[in-house]
Subunit: 391 residues, 2 copies
């Protein structure tokens, strides 16, 4: 099945907003084993939109159009969809009623131009949008099934998952269900993770498990997409592979699925009724800024201290200024990072030289600091070498 | 002149990387009065690339292609460009020499597959890339002039500014020079700024000044694009308009051009040999994290303190715990923000209720804190109401 995406709107075409909706959609489809073949970006312009709809309608089996469903005059998707398919626009009484209810529940008055959002091509099938006034819809243009979606990210995301992906999977004849399993790691480069996991897909014969990666430095996300007949089949296929991934990536796995490093650290501290204080110099408060605001941190995060001058830190902590100054005065040079974890049962410390420019090193230092804390709390070695360090 | 952009590469098409190159290019072109009519995203696939080059070659006057100039087998731009134009690929000895020099200067050995990067269509005009091995080039395909650029952002940015925009301006017959003047503000919504600046373009007759905005909450960037015969002409046209913008946006302007809020605050403190200490609770260290790491902050930023528990703050500051607790215990509810600036000559304070969800309120609180500090240091009122607050 050939899938195309058309992103519409002057704000996207002029680069005023970065097109994160496109990458979100492409990634989400990929998670369900569906791949995008072509992307098009056009502005709020009748001729360009018509040309884009016609071209994709000739080439593709399915087309997702994003944006242009709003109430203002530059929102043209319904009008051009009707034109491209050679059908009329009619007022959809059901959607009008939905919108009126939507505004009533919020004690707001619906303005006259919202009525435009209920004007749909006669052949349109409604795609529900439970959290907004833009009406999603599906219809045929040329030889393709088109899915029209709102530009507001959270409305798009929900419609894509709940309405569009099930329809695409049904059209593509994909049997059963698909599951996405994710592992987050810090300290290994993408090619290293790839090499460590070589062959894990083959643990389950038949190609029903696909391995993929997404890098957002300094973390790498390892993704397993599993196809199965039902959830039991998925669980049976996934079990040996996820066990193998955990074994091979080992201590470098900082979390799975929705977990985040700072959340893992916070939970580990909360579980032992622990508390945390952070002292930062080179990282300038960025470790505290990752963790102190989290829900639940009020019970755990005791105090953060940030200072650039080693004497200031020594003074605040009541330490010997000369000693600490000698150590810390070198941290700003050559990407050398010093970190220490002091706990009731002792002190762990680590010195590390991270590759990259100053901002890159700082990014790495924040992650290294949080990850060493995670390792410490999980009883793992804090000094295991990462791929981002010089020897 | 009709301009199109084609972004190539599986990583972009699958959404693995967010397509920031597209928005960068579109914005940069807009800054020079050039607008993009159509964007295409295709993967590393011979058929799709050929179709994309042919379609754009029929529709556009100029096409910028991004990506696919690397040394690996999935880098196909030169090959498909030659195919689309019906010409051969030949080894460009000059570029081969450039690459060999490039590696020699870095004491690295050029690998055999880099040679592929010097294979160019016979009709290609080289676009210099002084900071990489990917050779940019321009050539005709269909009725359009194509500009092939590297996917590495910093190489693309430089080639776009130094090589491509001058050629596009020459082709478009745009006379003289173009200048971009930017103002950064905090506290006014985009439609409010738009309304306040209504008519400023007309201060210079002849349409040679264009007004635009870019919102990255909580800041708004106001952009003036000025066309002129030469720099003197630009300066003469800009003077009355920039004076008017400064007058109308007034205290809300936090910086111009390359200035950033945290840099303005730091510079204002440095100029008076001042120092800064920051105490944060709801913002969890995010104010310190914006400023403490900046070059020059080591002379100014004295200490940051982060705590979630009001008693902890009272304790650290040697204040009356009961008093501060009564005030601070309410900050987490209803988006209510309390901030105070204590200086040798007195104390200023502000209470504010910011619209939005918890994370949005925190983003606003960080900005409000820094901007009040900027206002204080510049002798402006810190309590002026913003558009983002409830009354």
């Amino acid at each position: 099945m050939r899938i195309e995406i058309i992103c519409t709107g002057d704000e996207v075409l002029t680069g005023k907003i970065i097109n994160t909706n496109f990458s979100y959609m492409a990634q989400k489809l990929e998670d369900f084993g569906l791949s995008v073949s072509w992307g098009t970006i056009v502005g709020d312009d009748r001729e360009e939109l018509l040309a884009a709809f016609r071209l994709s309608g000739e080439r593709a089996d399915a087309v997702i159009v994003n944006g242009g469903l709003g109430p203002t005059i530059d929102d043209l998707s319904q009008e051009i969809a009707a034109l491209a398919a050679g059908v009329q626009l009619v007022l959809n009484e059901d959607w009008l009623q939905r919108m009126e209810d939507f505004f009533r529940r919020r004690n707001r008055v619906m303005s006259a131009n919202n009525r435009k959002q209920a004007m749909l091509p006669t052949t349109a099938e409604i795609l529900d949008n439970p959290i907004g006034t833009a009406c999603g819809f599906a219809m045929d243009i040329g030889r393709a099934r088109f899915f029209f979606t709102p530009g507001v990210p959270r409305e798009l995301f929900r419609m894509l998952e709940e309405q569009i992906i099930p329809r695409l999977l049904a059209r593509g004849g994909t049997p059963g269900v698909i599951h996405l399993k994710r592992f987050h790691s810090y300290g290994l480069g993408e090619s290293h993770v790839d090499q460590l996991l070589s062959g894990v897909e083959e643990l389950v014969p038949g190609g029903s498990i696909k391995l993929g990666f997404r890098t957002h430095y300094p973390q790498i996300e390892t993704k397993l997409t599993i196809r199965g007949i039902d959830q039991d089949d998925i669980a049976r296929k996934l079990a040996p592979v996820e066990a193998e991934v955990r074994k091979r990536l080992g201590n470098f796995i900082l979390g799975e699925d929705e977990q985040k490093l700072e959340g893992v650290v916070l939970d580990a501290l909360a579980a032992r009724s622990g508390s945390l204080a952070v002292v930062e110099t080179f990282t300038g408060g960025q470790i505290a800024a990752r963790i102190a605001h989290l829900p639940g941190a009020e019970k755990v995060f005791r105090r953060g201290l940030v200072a650039r001058d080693p004497a200031e830190i020594a003074n605040a902590l009541g330490l010997d200024g000369g000693l600490i100054s000698g150590e810390l005065s070198r941290v700003d040079f050559g990407g050398s990072i010093h970190l220490a974890i002091a706990a009731p049962d002792g002190v762990e410390s680590r010195r590390s030289r991270i590759y990259g420019g100053r901002d890159w090193v700082r990014l790495g230092a924040v992650e290294l600091g949080l990850d060493c804390l995670r390792r410490y709390l999980q009883g793992l070695p804090v000094t295991e070498r990462t791929d981002f360090e010089r020897v």
